[in-house]
Amino acid sequence: MNYRLLASTALAAVVLVLLLAKGSVGQTAPAAAKPGKAWTPPRTPDGQPDLQGIWNNSTITPLERPKGLGAKEFYTEQEFVELAKRVRQGDVGKEADLGAANPQALRYDLSLYGFDVTKTSFASNRRTSLIVGPEGVVPPMLPEARKRNADRAAKNKGHEFDSYENRPLQERCILMGQERIPMLPAAGEGNLLQITQGQGWIGLLHETNHDTRFIPTDGRPHIPQNIRQYQGDSVGHWEGNTLVIDTTNFTDLVPFRGSGEKLHLVERFSRIADDTILYRFTVEDPTTWDRPWTVEIPMSQAKGPIYEWGCHEGNTMISTILRGARVQEEEAAQKSGK
């Protein structure tokens, strides 16, 4: 055992808890323990740490560290207060330094739906990027991964509107951005996750597209390797108060930041305060990156309920897009025929 490593990890953990305690803002600021007083998570009747409830991963922190911040992993308290103030005032800047609150990242004019970015609730641990570590960015893609992704894009080029098969899975309501794992925050919508714990199983319900994962924690192995699924195969176990979920058996159809089917995902859920879960995941894929990388997102407790998210049932996007393309072709054919 490397005691120095252990000691520095423990120190980092203490620092982190302190930062979380002080750095949180918003309506759902985590009421973390005061220094020196250990916070113990509540338990379910069968003795597991109780992670149950509805959790919101909204954040103002970008996935990758903005250029210019160098190796600066955390804002100072003062810097963060100012940043949060700017967000509250709706002054979110043009550069992508505010993550999901950046208007350029929004798909809709939220004011049309009665949402107000200045009232967005979020938890933060004062990180400058969701990716942890001194680099704060996704490692560069290996040449083979670059080629794999370029080939895929090239194959579809010029055929984007030929058929539903050429459209992204998101548009087809098969697997949406916020639905897929690992779960990254989106721009102010579909950010809720409901956790329910039953005997030997954990239920994770993603608000987006009602994606549901029921994960065994009884020590069973993964399903056979020849069965590949969009969301892979997840098995879980407890490490102290932390729920650890290990996922393999992905397909090569839904790259996560360019990943292939060898993607291996480890997610960790730790309840660090009554109203906060720290979600931390590590992804590795030797066919895509030369090293694993890790992301940390504090999730704040939300009131709920989660509304049913129908997507496929009301999907007029695919037929509208394809019909439009066919009409254009028809018109072009008539013109050239003249």
């Binding site: 379910t44 009747p45 069968d46 003795g47 149950q52 509107f161 030929d162 058929s163 539903y164 098969e165 087809r172 309501c173 098969i174 697997l175 409901q194 329910t196 714990q197 039953g198 005997q199 030997g200 199983w201 239920g203 319900l205 009602h210 994606d211 549901t212 029921f214 065994p216 069973r220 399903i223 069965i227 699924q229 969009y230 969301q231 309920p305 989660i306 509304y307 049913e308 129908g310 496929h312 049932e313 695919i318 037929s319 394809l322 019909r323 393309a325 066919r326 072709e329």
Partner: protein
Amino acid sequence: MRDWLKEPRIASLAVAACLALLMMPAAAQTPPYRAARAADGKPNLNGIWQALNSADWDLEGHAAAKGPVPSLGAVFAVPPALGVVEGDVIPYLPVAAAKKKANQAAWMQLDPEVKCYMPGVPRATYLPYPFQILQSQKNIMISYEFGNTVRVINMEAPTKAPGDSWMGWSNGRWEGETLVVDVTSFNEDTWFDRAGNFHSDALHVVERYTPRSADTLNYEATIEDPKVFSLPWKISMPLYRRVEKNARLLEFRCAEFAEELLYGDLRKKTK
């Protein structure tokens, strides 16, 4: 009468008959099954379950029939069944009975199951796919393999639906050994089966899940919809635990299996 009873043989027969009558109910009533308990002391319904019947083909009793896709031959023929409706017949109002017939005639075009739409309740229970109950104190999640559909049953003070939905709004409670779920606020777009049995947005379903052995549940659903039926009616069936040691729900994201049907005619024509 009085003379009869004075006859010792007849009197003793009468006494025996009375005794038999008294004893009969007791003999017919097997003691109710007491389910294993969850950590909070409630009956433990956790597990992966599945109906084993042809209810999704037709809730009412029906003879076997040729399937709708001739090229599939026996593989997709309609299997026969005695039906799961108490009293055998669904009590449609006359106008609604005509609509049911029209639905059945255009089944392949109209059935939301064909399109992979969320199946609604109670149909989700007896689709030919497994589902899993995950039971906690504040809520019970049910995940259905078909279309990755899910329901969250609120087990605390009943709450009001925020709006109509495909799977309805579920408030649950325990009545002894039975989980009773009151489901309201449905849209009018789901069906009960492939035979065109349907409902309106006034549908109200009360489900009862009662353990009947370690690996079986009895499932009942009372269906009420004054816009479509003249009376409330009830279905009941056993549900069976998937006892395989490694039983799991796997991905069945059927939207992609319905795309050719829904969008195939919009594909670019190849010259």
